[in-house]
């Protein structure tokens, strides 16, 4: 049974915006990253899967049930953490999460027990008896995750779970997400425009852009195929590029940087040796995997428009961004 399956799923908004365009995909259970730039259709897809939005055409099934006809049954087994604020400030975390558990169909006593357990699980202790209005952003995100987990769903849909968190908060949230997926065996879909985050928790990636499926593949296959090594040097990038090319590497010069195609471990040594021989001052050697265009570029696919759009949505983009340069290497 597929976790999620869509057929020709299309959603157009009034005003002519097409958020999803004939999207067809099948996803097996696991920790799944849903990546794409802002406006790529991630939230629209999640809302259709939850039955919050009707599709314009096409169909979708979650846990083997049709979203259009079996909404309430499906949703007893699905947890949703929206991107936006969704917490009433004048309730305590305990009251709110208990209420949400009951709306998910849990009996009163179970709702209370599960609430206590899940709030402890997300790391809220004594604060859980305080009103949510006084919480920090990090605590609110935890309550949002708790309400999505309280009924022990089979599928958890998280929309930008690290929104508004500081670096430490992000790490904790990502760790929680990863543990939820791996230790508790709950299928998780994490939507994010930050590939660096998705990469840390997911096993499988779905990349969408402008409502189209760009790629769906295990994370490992993305990184293996398209690793790019960025070498930044003070001066003499041209000489280094020439030397590396002589030694059989696929390289491209890009200002002060040299981009090297990374198929195995060999380029690291070659770069070091070449730099030493030429007497160049190395600033940085970095495997550039945080950039969507590196990951989604299949050698020779040539879909530059899509990659460029995606790159615009990534956060940790180095200053000297260059989609086409990478394309050159890929080929």
């Amino acid at each position: 049974m597929s976790l999620i399956s869509t057929r020709q799923l299309t959603r157009r908004f009034s005003g002519g915006v097409t958020a999803l365009d004939a999207l067809t995909l099948d996803v097996e259970p696991g920790v799944i990253g849903l990546v794409g730039a802002n406006g790529a259709g991630k939230t629209t897809l999640i809302k259709i899967l939850l039955g919050l939005l009707p599709p314009t055409s096409g169909s979708a099934a979650v846990l083997g049930r049709d979203v259009a006809t079996e909404g309430p049954q499906i949703r007893q087994f699905v947890g949703y953490m929206p991107e936006h604020d969704c917490l009433p400030p004048d309730l305590t975390a305990t009251e709110f999460v208990t209420h949400m558990a009951r709306i998910s169909g849990l009996p009163r006593s179970s709702a209370r027990e599960r609430t206590a357990e899940v709030l402890r699980h997300v790391g809220l202790y004594e604060e859980r008896y305080r009103q949510i209005g006084g919480y920090s952003t990090g605590m609110k995100q935890r309550v949002k995750l708790a309400q999505a987990l309280v009924h022990d769903p089979s599928l958890l849909l998280l929309d930008e779970p690290t929104n508004g968190l500081d670096p430490a908060g992000r790490d904790e949230m990502l760790d929680l997400v990863r543990r939820t997926g791996t230790e508790f065996g709950i299928a998780v879909v994490v939507a994010s425009h930050l590939l660096g985050e998705i990469e840390r928790v997911c096993e499988f990636l779905l990349a969408i852009d402008a409502g189209h499926l760009l790629r769906a593949a295990p994370l490992a296959s993305f990184t293996r195929q398209t690793g790019v090594l960025t070498v930044e040097i003070e001066d003499g990038a041209d000489r280094l590029a020439a030397t590396l090319a002589e030694r059989g590497l696929t390289v491209r010069e890009d200002g002060r940087q040299v981009l090297v195609r990374l198929d195995d471990e060999r380029p690291y040594d070659l770069v070091r040796d070449a730099a030493a021989e030429l007497g160049l001052a190395l600033v940085r050697i970095e495997q550039r995997r945080h950039r969507l265009e590196d990951l989604f570029r299949e050698p020779g696919s040539g879909d530059e428009g899509a990659a460029a759009t995606l790159a615009a949505g990534t956060a940790p983009v180095p200053a000297a961004s260059s989609g086409p340069a990478t394309t050159g290497i890929g080929r």
Partner: protein
């Protein structure tokens, strides 16, 4: 429970912190589905209507109005004892079952104007709807639960005083059983009029309140619906001629409910309505049309609301 903790601490190589980390437990218990979700939302909304489970300041208005609505009944019971004893039953008690609705109708309007926006606007203001609609509920369930909850709250407000009068009358009489049977005859009219008023007022107020997350706007709009219409139809009634001049009075919800209630109890309406000489079934039809219209608007609103 404590046995477990002891076991874990004594286990070799176990770090202290893991005593408390019992891991994630899966839930294998019952999932009661849509019906239970509906009941949970209903209960929570009804409680919220009286500020229960909310901060103290949320209780002030609903309980204040509950006391105000109850007060005439308490006075009536006191008067009953006084009139029965001292005056020897020669003076009729001014507060009765049949005129209780007109006596407290202002408090009921205040109640829906204060609590309907709280009931539905809150969830829009804090964007909680997406959490509801992504659970076992559907949109219509949500709207119906809110209507039923506000109807229930209004019934508390209007039936509690009537029950007080009832108990007062029965206990104040020499012949308990006889008084009980006498008063029982009034119960169907009391319940029917209260239920109709509650349904009309709740559905109208919620249909208005559902359109804005802003409480102040919603409260003002509900006041306008109940009070401005009253003045407007009075002016229209004076300007227009023929049947239109009479029936236009029924556009104001409080007029409609007054006509309907008077018909149920077989009493007279106020002077203005009396001049219009509206029949009871007209009031019933207008009340039904108002409730139905408001419920359709509410359903339409929640079908299309963004979540």
């Amino acid at each position: 429970m404590s046995g477990q903790v002891v076991d874990r601490t004594t286990a070799p190589g176990e770090v202290a912190a893991s005593i408390y980390d019992l891991g994630y437990q899966h839930y294998a218990g019952a999932r009661l589905g849509r019906r239970a979700a509906f009941l949970a939302l209903y209960t929570e909304s009804l409680r919220g209507c009286f500020g229960l489970g909310r901060p103290t300041r949320s209780k002030v208005v609903p309980f204040g109005l509950l006391i105000l609505a109850e007060l005439p009944a308490v006075i009536a019971v006191a008067l009953e004892a006084f009139l029965g004893g001292v005056a020897g039953g020669r003076i009729e008690n001014p507060i009765r079952y049949d005129n209780y609705f007109p006596t407290i109708v202002q408090f009921l309007v205040l109640f829906v104007a204060a609590q309907a926006p709280e009931m539905v606007g809150r969830d829009q203001r804090y964007h909680v709807l997406s959490l509801y609609f992504s659970r076992a509920l559907d949109r219509l369930d949500y709207a119906v639960a809110k209507v039923v909850a506000l109807v229930s709250a209004l019934l508390v407000l209007s039936l509690l005083p009537q029950a007080t009068i009832f108990v007062g009358k029965v206990l104040g009489s020499q012949d308990l059983l006889g008084a009980f049977t006498d008063n029982l005859a009034a119960v169907p009219a009391i319940v029917l009029s209260a239920a109709t008023a509650a349904l009309v007022m709740a559905s109208l107020a919620l249909a208005v309140a559902a359109f804005t997350p802003r409480r102040a706007y919603a409260t003002a709009a509900i006041f306008a619906l109940f009070y401005i219409t009253l003045t407007a139809v009075a002016i229209a009634g004076a300007t227009l001629h023929g049947d239109l001049a009479r029936y236009v009075l029924l556009v104001a919800p409080t007029n409609t409910l007054e006509v309907f209630t008077a018909w149920l109890f077989g009493t007279a309406v106020g002077p203005e309505l009396a001049r219009a000489d509206l029949a009871g079934p007209d009031g019933a039809a207008a009340a039904a049309a108002m409730a139905a219209g408001a419920l359709v608007v509410l359903a339409w609103r929640y079908r299309g609301i963004g979540a």
